[in-house]
Every structure is written in C-alpha cells, then in structure tokens.
Subunit: 200 residues, 2 copies
C-alpha cells in the first residue's frame, strides 16, 4: 500500500477540498504530479488484479523518506522528514520465476519523452538488472495522447547514454514501444506484452 | 540507502550521546531494535558488496511510512507521519535471472525463534513468491548464539500455519537451516548458500 501525503490526494475533488478546508498550499507542479499519480494508481490496481488472479507478483517499492526527527514520547511520531528520490525503480517482482523490474513515468509532452525524468541511478540499476538476467523495462504514459507504452530498458539506456537528444521522440516510442491496452480490469494490461516479448 | 531516524542510531555509543545531549526518550524495546538493525546493516553491506562484485542485485525495500501532514510552504517538509509495518518482506532482487525474496529477523531468544516476529501478510507474500516460481527464504539471527541461519521459506510457512508451537526451536533451525559464514567482507555471506540449495 502506498500512502500519499494528505495534500496530494489522487483526484481533483479531494484536492479542492484540501484547498478549501485545510488551506494546504500545493506546489505549482501539482497537476502534473497528480497525473503521474494516476499512472501509479493504474499500475498498482493492475498489479493487485494480477496478484489476485495469480498471474504474477509485482509490488511497488515504498517511497523512500529520510527521517530526521522522531518524537518517541508520542509513540514514534515522525515530526521532521522529507521525501527522497528513488535510487532504484518503482516496481519489481516475479513472473514465471523470472525477476521483473520497471519504472513508470508520465509526460504531458506531446512530441517526446524527456530523459530528465530518469536519474542516472535508475539507469545504473536497470543495467545491473539486465546484467543479472532480469527483465527490465519502462512504462511511459503520454497524457495528451492518452497512450501508454511498454518500452524495453535497453532502448532507453541506449538513448540515455548515447543519444544526441535529451528526449526520446514520441514517434520513435510509437514505433519501438508496445502500446498497453486499457480496460476496466486490469486498467493497464501490460503483462501480455511482457509474455509476448520476453517469454516467446 | 536506508535512513534511520536520528534517535535510532546503530551503535551504542551514538545511542548514549543521543540520550545525554538531546534527551531523546527511547522506547524500552530500543536495545532489541538496535540489534535488529545490526543484522539489517550487515545484510545491506553484504548486498552492496555483491552488487559491486556483480554477483547479484538484492535491494532493501524502503520502510513504509504513512505520511499524514506535509508542509508545502517549507518545500514539502513532512511534519506528521508514522512508521508502518512492511506488508511484504524487506529484501528482494535478482540472481542468475531468478527472483529472490527474503525477510531478515533477529532474536535475543536462545531456545527458539518466536513466530510473532512474522506477520500473516509476510507469509502470504512469501507463499505468492513460491507460487510464481521465485526463491524465498528467511535470514534469522540468534543474537546470543552469535549465529545467523538461512532458512527456506517453505519450512517457516509450514511451522507458521501448521505448527503446534508459536516458535521454531533453535535446535530445529540448527538442523534444517544453513549457517551463514561471517567475515569481514561480505559480512554475512549468504549467496553461496542460495547457490548451493536453489541452483544445484
């Protein structure tokens, strides 16, 4: 279970309530973070579905938080802490015995996926996963196109390390990536693509 | 990287300093938690070693924290939060393409390992890992014996679900588990045991 901070509710209504009742000041990038969270939510719900149906077991790593101060007089209440950047990826797990590892990213950009969204640590991590024989990919959502692609990590690593641009063109992703089917359940059905490209 | 709360330093000296200078009230279970953290630290350092030597890639899931309040006026400072119980396990990763998943526990008990240390969620998680063909085990430290064992998850699940006692006798673990060699580097060399029992 992922626990969102109260000021970062996952739908606009809650968000508005927060603003009105509690006067929580939201960062300017909120709407984008919010969109990103929808992708996260879609994946989490799909993973729950896969788990229930015994299809695979993929879990989200909790958001790393750096705890600065704990009040033990109040039963280990954390009173000072901050969010940290994930040095690995968001998701990993097991499918047919094999190790699966991926990162999910969302962009509002229409023409390309900006590589600034990915950290060097994450690229290093995915290279290690591949070295050890694991399966590694990205799930990239183009919010404006209402399309989400599964993209093999090798391709993204290549672009990150040797590409001349600081982004991957949308047209390129459309060509090389695999469009993930959206439905009611699972919301983002990425597992058949994993089966298709890594197990056949 | 795991970030320990400042009041939970990993060695006794720091602990004492905390007590003297900052007057942080420590919970009564502190010394036990402290010992548990040494095991965690030993495993983290061993995993770093394995990663550097390109032997395997095992990472620790960050401690899940339930964030209640965030002060956005101070750059997303978390001002109210609490630690949550891990619903999965602490460690997972990849070795020779295969998915590895384990939980590490430490006990001061001499005669047995109390199963109260394990949650039903963790047992469910490990059963799922096994169902999907992953490798699942426990690393159990007997602090007073200065011994640490790798114990296949099936054995622990069996005890948890069908055992008549609420603990696994030390003698039983000594017989069925695999004693992990301690050294300078890696501190807890559990990988050769994984190789021996799951890959041969």
């Amino acid at each position: 279970m992922v626990n969102y901070p109260s000021g970062m509710a996952t739908n606009k209504q809650n968000n508005k309530e927060e603003k009105t009742n509690k006067k929580v000041k939201l960062p300017s990038s909120f709407s984008r973070a919010n969109r990103g969270m929808n992708l996260e939510e879609d994946i989490n719900i799909s993973n729950e579905y896969y788990k229930d149906k015994k299809l695979c077991l993929i879990t989200k790593r909790p958001t790393p938080i750096n705890v600065v101060k704990v009040d033990y007089s109040k039963g280990a209440l954390i009173t000072n802490a901050y969010f940290e950047k994930q040095s690995t990826t968001d998701y990993n797990g097991v499918y047919k015995g094999k190790y699966i590892d991926f990162e999910a990213k969302s962009t509002k950009n229409k023409a390309s996926f900006p590589l600034a969204n990915i950290t060097t640590h994450q690229i290093e991590h995915l290279k290690n996963v591949l070295f050890h024989g694991g399966i590694a990919f990205f799930i990239i959502e183009f919010v404006e196109h209402q399309e989400t692609y599964l993209l093999d990590a090798k391709f993204v690593i290549e672009y990150f390390e040797h590409g001349s641009r600081k982004s991957i063109p949308y047209e390129e992703i459309k060509k090389i990536g695999h469009l993930i089917k959206r439905s009611y359940l699972p919301r983002l059905d990425y597992l058949p693509i994993v089966e298709e490209i890594y197990f056949k």
